[in-house]
């Protein structure tokens, strides 16, 4: 049996899904956090049943790609579980009635039930079930309340006797239902609601936005640096290194030593410079990158669950229109600071292909991911904070200029913002930690093997000596125009695998500060890493991917050369 979880955006379908299946999914407090469907299984009367978490949609007439996915799924289900935000019953009924008219076995779930009491909303559940003609159950998925009842009710799903009607009759029906089942008592605004209004106020909102962004940055950096300085560096230096030295002594030298342990720097293993699979190959992802990935996603998770991001989208809307996007595009952009892959996927919430092309191109050129950021902070930061500022300043200018250029040269226009704003919610710590845990797991699963592979390839390439053929081909550009040493060519190529390893490769080259800054900027801009590339290709298609890549390569060479000649 196939069960579909369908409903408006941001009603908690993903939380219910994860409660039912045990499959963990990233859920957040804003519309459109699920953009593709997810499958899972759960026990129903002792039998395995398939359940699909469908992206949220407002109606059966889709307006963006995420909604199209939802409508396409509809025909494949045996039972529909229609999830409603109980605090927003009115808004949910248009879709609910459209679903009832499909005549499939269905149940209705009134989720976020715990909030109705705080909000002074009373809903007569039995009456609602009677009027809709299908079973209705109440749940609070975040705390798990009502989930068992939901499962039991699925087997009692029935198709409604509601007949398909024309638009105006449907609205009349909605009006009748609301007036008969719902009573809303008047109450005063809570502090959260006042804060809600204030954060979209033209001046107050900007103030809040600036505070939120700088505070987040400060906390992310403090957590990241503390983890590196007090936990990971001591661990690697005092606990792990003795074992590595044992291994190094055992191997003595030779090719295997070179690959596994790497070069000895002044007779010692240097975790950044040695570049062996088990020295740098482990230290870069775990000791340098992970602390920042962890602290970034921790703070992002809290901001997501509070429901702040859509407010930022509203405040930045006017500005984003200048670069051919609307405000909501800031959400994929912020997600990309963690990793470009989920960022690119999140562009599915944007309406037009033009907008998605611009957003994806700008993200992969101007928004470095957490791995790259950690390396920039670690290595460029060691030369002085102002050089870090230069790197990000240049990337910001490139992002902006390119956006302006793309907006004027591409046919079409930026569609207008149209989004529902979720209420502020107090983040639930267990939910925030669960989400963090999932994101960390996928970081380790995806990052470490590729870093290992990258370091391995580099060592093999050096040992065999094919390096010269490749670098002589790219030398005119890299050394001639960008003023980088010939050896950095291989780092730029490795950037295609993973950016953190690539930046790490610049360290043993003893670059000047200028070369390091140019190197980081070019690496950030030049080409997406293989994971991002694959996703972009799938989302944009070959033609646009070639266009986008050409822009990236040209822009990075241009900016690299300009930096080199101006500095």
């Amino acid at each position: 049996m196939k069960v579909l979880l369908i409903g408006n955006p941001n009603v908690g379908k993903s939380v219910i899904f994860s409660r039912l299946t045990g499959v963990q999914v990233v859920a957040s407090n804003y519309p459109g956090s699920t953009v593709g469907f997810k499958k899972g299984f759960f026990k129903l009367n002792g039998q395995r049943a398939k359940i699909i978490d469908v992206p949220g949609t407002y109606s059966l007439n889709p307006i963006n790609e995420a909604e199209e996915v939802a409508v396409k799924m509809l025909n494949q289900g045996d039972v529909i579980v229609c999830v409603i935000d109980a605090t927003r019953l009115e808004r949910s009924l248009p879709l609910t009635l459209q679903l009832l008219e499909q005549k499939k076995p269905m149940i209705v779930v009134l989720n976020i039930w715990d909030e109705t009491q705080h909000k002074g909303i009373y809903i007569d559940v039995e009456k609602l079930a009677q009027m809709l003609g299908v079973p209705v159950v109440t749940t609070s998925a975040v705390s798990g309340e009502g989930i068992l009842d939901l499962v039991q009710l699925i087997s009692r799903a029935s198709s409604s006797n509601v007949t398909p009607v024309c638009e105006s009759l449907r609205w009349q029906r909605i009006g009748e239902i609301i007036s008969q089942v719902q009573i809303v008592t008047h109450r005063h605004h809570t502090i959260l609601e006042k804060l809600q209004d204030f954060s979209i106020h033209p001046f107050g909102g900007m103030l809040i936005a600036l505070s939120v962004i700088s505070l987040s940055f400060f906390i992310i950096r403090t957590i990241g640096e503390s983890l590196i300085g007090f936990v990971f560096e001591p661990l690697f230096e005092h606990l792990y290194k003795p074992f590595l030295i044992l291994g190094s002594n055992y191997l003595g030298g030779g090719m295997l030593h070179e690959i596994l342990i790497g070069k000895l720097i002044n007779g010692d293993i240097d975790f950044v410079q040695s570049f062996g699979v088990f020295s740098t190959g482990l230290f870069v992802p775990i000791g340098m990158v992970f602390p920042y990935v962890f602290s970034f996603y921790f703070i992002l998770g809290i901001l997501e669950d509070i429901g702040y991001l859509p407010r930022l989208a509203i405040l930045l809307d006017v500005f984003m229109h200048r670069i051919g996007l609307h405000g909501y595009a800031i959400i994929p952009t912020i997600l990309s600071i963690g990793c470009n892959v989920p960022g690119i996927l999140a562009t599915r919430t944007l309406e037009s292909h033009r907008e998605r092309f611009i957003a994806c191109t700008l993200i992969s050129i101007g928004v470095p991911c957490a791995s790259l950021n950690a390396m920039i902070f670690g290595l460029v930061g060691a030369r002085g904070p102002r050089y870090v500022l230069i790197v990000y300043g240049v990337l910001a200018v490139v992002w902006l200029c390119l956006g302006l250029i793309l907006n004027t040269t591409l046919k079409g226009f930026a569609p207008e913002l149209f989004t529902e704003i979720p209420p502020y919610r107090k983040p639930v710590l267990s939910a925030v930690l669960k989400k963090l845990w999932m994101r960390m797991k996928s970081f380790f699963k995806e990052a470490i093997p590729i870093v290992f592979l990258g370091v391995l390839i580099i060592n093999i390439v050096y040992t065999i000596g094919i390096f010269h053929y490749v670098s002589s081909f790219l030398r005119p550009v890299v050394t001639g125009l960008m003023g980088m040493p010939e050896k950095s060519v291989i780092a730029l190529i490795i950037g295609f695998l993973r950016k953190d390893v690539a930046v790490g490769m610049l360290v043993p080259l003893n670059l000047t500060t200028k070369q390091l800054v140019v190197g980081c900027v070019v690496l950030a801009m030049s080409f997406p890493c293989i994971a991002t590339f694959t996703v972009m290709l799938r989302e944009l298609g070959w033609k646009d991917m070639i266009k986008s890549s050409t822009i990236m390569v040209c822009a990075s060479v241009m900016v690299g050369s300009i930096l080199n000649f101006l500095w």
């Binding site: 808004r91 979209i200 509203i314 913002l417 149209f418 704003i421």
Partner: protein, 82 residues
């Protein structure tokens, strides 16, 4: 006195009843998905300068829409006239 104005011109903090929605079927569908249609009571929560998005509340939910979209939603302002 009732007065018909567009949502873009409605003063911040005032409530009105949607009278007509000018614009394409797609736009109307989007609004209807959120239960906003002629007859719906809406309050303008805020608007941002230089023709930035307008935020409206239906009492059930808050929605942010672009300025030109707000121009297409006509409302009868009845905050003081009732």
């Amino acid at each position: 006195m009732q007065q018909e104005v567009s949502l873009a011109d409605l003063q911040k903090g005032r409530t009105g009843m949607v009278s007509t929605i000018n614009g394409g079927a797609q736009f109307r569908l989007k609004l209807e998905g959120l239960s906003i249609r002629p007859g719906t009571k809406i309050t303008k929560v805020s608007s941002l300068f230089s023709k930035g998005p307008v935020v409206l509340s239906t009492g059930v939910t808050e929605v942010a829409i672009g300025y030109t979209m707000a121009l297409k939603i006509m409302v009868n302002d009845f905050t003081d006239g009732k």
